[in-house]
């Protein structure tokens, strides 16, 4: 189909060349465009998941609500959870990682640009596949954790869609994780040592390792569920002697690291935003980095605290109670780092700062209610009540979503070149903070009063009414705040103030290039000499210990004491660094530092140099390969013919991927 578009290069596998228009978005391998695609798609799902939440809160606004039938209610709360976790928080983090990671480490692109596009299209297909179940007989309705044997219920195909859809989403996450790991480990700019990396990059690395090892575990659980549902296997059927705890163990062995997969990127965002607006270096950088790694390690040893009510026995319960209490320690370390960063700083109360401050404070509440769950008798009391729902929303909404909005406001000018309105942004923050607490604080009380979660109605005269009504009002307040955000976006698109390269006077490399960045990111790959390198290019420390502005602007000139010969004059010859995933000589083969000395100094202007930079060409095959996945999914449910068709798409895509000409011929 696609091969006829670019005939001048000839051949069956000619690569597309469009730079603008919708076709260029379909075939792009540019990490910045893919990041925007991720962000827009995740925000779309955020609206969808939010509408589901509003329907749930409408149903529960009054006792014996009649807005939704029980069957629809089950589908909605399940899809709300799945959407927000797998199609909002995770991809929104991935959107920022995609856009920022290469910029922050001074690279031209990620290690495998086509694999990156593949990740996005697979993620999108997973979301569409999952939602198509609404039209094809019923969406998943067994909760986002899909407890087997409950999820074996054969009334609708919903949980089959669950097993296949999450499997597909997992493939996207896995491919993305591998891509980011290789990019961070192998493609940092000269001088960008691990301990000079921005914390957001560190958290991306840690999150990617968590995904790498957590995704296959749920993958196995989902395969087993699929074999039970479709082919009559007996992994979870207690009647055949199977152990219903198997699903819980496999799911939560994935599920708890998943919690950190969702929160660590937000922690990385906050660790970038707070120093920028406190005008201080991050307090205790190594402690933040190592506590992040410690959380990731310990995150593998706490999963059974989700199962305290499952009857594992006192020894297992005590062990997991202890590990759960211990994991609060590195988390607490980070809180103190952030407070220490703000302390004594020249704080600017911008919208990104406010969202980050909101993150820290709301996450403290969520973290503390999390510690209460480590106390086994307390947890046994709260299991399956609204108390748990309150806790998880304080960490995932108060935590992740606030952190992500902080990142959106902070990096919006870098991505689109225009600032968002501060005034509207602050209004958005205030409304969201109030609405959030109004919604989820009452959940704790409802839980303590004994209201069970996942029930499609609540009875009257149990003291639940007022708290449920408050929560529903709060939910609609949040919805209004999101409309305010959309209005802010519209205003910014129309007449937003031009941002310039560095609107926040920030510290990290992405602010060195234009907003939005050119396709090749940097005209010259920067050489990094400091943590917060860009700050040290702008400021020197006077003998009195004060910071003073370097007048030459971004690039330190030779007169300044900080000057570094070729700081910004590196020729773009380093551009070949792994920009193409099929080049044998990628960064690994020729580490930048080994050749930086021999590079000729280029006298030409940076703009002129930019045009010589070789970037990978767009490709059809990531899209084609990814589109095969949901077809295979439908094939499993409906017909072997579809299965074969999907497999053919996958094979053709994979072979085209390997055999299409390398980028440089374009």
């Amino acid at each position: 189909m696609a091969t006829a578009v670019a005939p001048q290069q000839g051949g069956l596998f000619a690569r597309p060349t469009a730079k603008t228009g919708w076709w260029s978005w379909m075939t792009t391998v540019d990490h910045k465009k893919i990041g925007i695609l991720y962000g827009v798609t995740a925000f779309f799902f955020f609206i969808v998941g939010g509408v589901e939440a509003l329907l749930i809160r409408s149903q529960l606004a009054t006792p014996n609500g009649e807005v939704l039938s029980p069957a629809v209610y089950n589908q909605l709360f399940t899809m709300h959870g799945l959407t927000m976790i797998f199609f909002v928080v995770m991809p929104m983090g991935t959107a920022l990682m995609n856009f920022l990671l290469p910029l922050m480490i001074g690279a031209r692109d990620v290690a495998f640009p086509r694999l990156n596009a593949f990740s996005y299209w697979v993620f999108l297909s997973a979301g569409l596949f999952m939602y198509s179940a609404f039209l094809l007989g019923g969406a998943p309705d067994g909760g986002w954790f899909g407890y087997a044997p409950l999820s074996l219920d054969p009334v609708t195909d919903g949980m089959t869609y669950y097993s296949l859809g999450l499997q597909i989403a997992g493939i996207a996450s896995l491919a993305g994780a591998i891509n980011f790991i290789v990019t961070i480990i192998n493609m940092r700019a000269p001088g960008m040592t691990l301990m000079r990396m921005p914390v957001f990059v560190w958290m991306t690395l840690i999150t990617s390792f968590l995904l790498l090892f957590a995704v296959p575990v749920i993958g196995v659980a989902l395969w087993e569920l699929m074999f039970d549902r479709l082919f009559g296997a007996n992994f979870f059927d207690p009647a055949a002697g199977a152990d219903p705890l198997l699903w819980q163990h496999l799911f939560w062995l994935f599920g708890h690291p998943e919690v950190y997969i969702m929160i660590l990127p937000a922690m990385g965002i906050v660790s970038e935003v707070l120093p920028a607006f406190s005008r201080k270096p991050l307090f205790g950088y190594p402690a933040i980095v190592f506590s992040g790694a410690a959380i990731a390690f310990m995150g593998w040893g706490v999963w059974a605290h989700h199962m305290f009510a499952a009857g594992l026995g006192p020894v297992a319960n005590s062990a997991f109670a202890l590990s759960t209490m211990f994991i609060a320690v590195p988390t607490g370390v980070k809180i103190f780092n952030w407070i220490g960063t703000i302390w004594g700083g020249s704080v600017r109360l911008t919208t990104p700062f406010l969202f980050s401050a909101g993150f820290v404070s709301m996450f403290i509440i969520g973290g503390l209610s999390g510690v209460t769950h480590s106390i086994v008798p307390h947890d046994a009391q709260q299991t399956d009540t609204y108390y748990v729902v309150g806790h998880l929303h304080y960490v995932l909404f108060g935590g992740s979503i606030f952190g992500l909005f902080s990142g959106i406001y902070y990096w919006w000018p870098k991505v689109f070149g225009r600032l968002l309105s501060e005034k509207i942004g602050k209004f958005h923050f205030l409304l969201m903070l109030v609405g959030f607490n109004l919604t989820f604080m009452p959940f704790h009380i409802l839980g303590l009063l004994g209201m069970p979660r996942r029930q499609y109605y609540f009875p009257a005269n149990r003291g639940f009414e007022v708290w449920n009504l408050l929560a529903s009002i709060g939910a609609f307040t949040i919805a209004v705040s999101i409309l305010v955000f959309l209005y802010n976006v519209a205003v910014s698109r129309k007449k937003g103030e031009a941002a310039g390269a560095d609107p926040w006077d920030a510290r990290t490399l992405e602010w060195m290039t234009t907003s939005p960045p050119p396709e090749h990111n940097f005209d010259a790959i920067p050489v990094v000499r400091h943590r917060d390198d860009f700050w040290y290019r702008k400021y020197i420390t006077t003998p009195e210990g004060e910071s003073a502005r370097v007048f030459a602007g971004g690039a330190a000139s030779d007169e300044e004491q900080h000057s570094s010969e070729a700081a910004s004059d590196e020729p773009p010859s380093s551009s070949a660094e792994g920009a193409s995933d099929r080049e044998p000589n990628t960064a690994g083969a020729a580490p930048p530092e080994s050749s930086s000395e021999e590079r000729p100094h280029a006298g030409a202007s940076a703009e002129e140099q930019g045009h010589g930079i070789h970037l990978p060409s767009p490709s059809y095959f990531p899209l084609l390969t990814a589109a095969g996945m949901p077809v295979i999914g439908y094939g499993f449910i409906y017909s072997p013919i579809l299965l074969a068709a999907g497999a053919v798409m996958l094979l053709v895509g994979a072979f085209g991927w390997v055999l299409e000409p390398p980028a440089e011929e374009a």
């Binding site: 896995l174 480990i185 087993e224 992994f235 199977a242 690994g588 580490p591 930048p592 530092e593 055999l659």
Partner: protein, 199 residues
């Protein structure tokens, strides 16, 4: 890098490993958890046989030992294929690639025969939790071998397109890494499933 190089102005910011190779290692790390979870499931269910046949009734260890030996020998031919392409002998490389694919195919044939025999003796996917975990674990390993065979054939196709040579041996190396991993996993599966007696 090399010792002859003057003291580096910048510390290392790359491992010096090839990107694709690093990615393959990361992927194989992920695969360890994948097979680990299936093996755990099997260990949980190996005695949950219900009314169906038990592993002692079914397993033919000499037979499976031979097919395991065939699979392990395919790692040897894979090494020879890589060595040939690195030495510039593309004809020998194609022969060894085909030999590897053939040995892999022999193993798959052996597995198909074994599955058929087990079904005839009364063990299916639905017979018991033991049956489910056995078929799905070994089936997924078989699927990995099959994908490996497809990749070996893909390499042969690439070679006939004029690709692969001493300067372009990386695809062979990557497929080799994958192939050896699948073999090593089989050593674990063979030991845990067939050699450790249940009861």
């Amino acid at each position: 890098m090399s010792a002859a190089h003057p003291p580096a102005e910048h510390p290392h910011t790359s491992t010096g490993l090839d990107n694709a190779k690093l990615a393959m290692w990361a992927f194989l790390g992920s695969e360890c958890l994948f097979f680990g979870s299936f093996i755990s499931t099997y260990l949980l269910y190996r005695n949950v046989t219900g009314d169906g046949p038990t592993s002692a009734d079914l397993y033919d260890i000499p037979y499976t030992s031979i097919s395991s030996f065939v699979l392990l020998m395919s790692s040897l031919t894979m090494v020879l294929a890589l060595s040939s392409v690195q030495n510039g002998d593309r004809r020998a490389m194609r022969i060894w690639l085909m030999a590897t694919a053939f040995l892999g195919l022999t193993f798959i044939g052996g597995q198909v025969f074994e599955f058929t025999t087990f079904v005839e003796e009364g063990l299916t996917l639905s017979t018991s939790a033991f049956g489910s975990s056995f078929f799905v674990l070994t089936g997924f390993h078989g699927a990995h071998v099959t994908i490996g065979i497809l990749m070996l054939l893909g390499l042969t196709v690439m070679s006939s397109f004029g690709r692969l040579g001493p300067d372009d041996s990386r695809p062979v190396e990557l497929v080799g890494l994958y192939w050896h991993f699948v073999d090593i996993v089989w050593i674990v599966i063979f030991t845990v499933i067939y050699l450790i007696p249940s009861g």
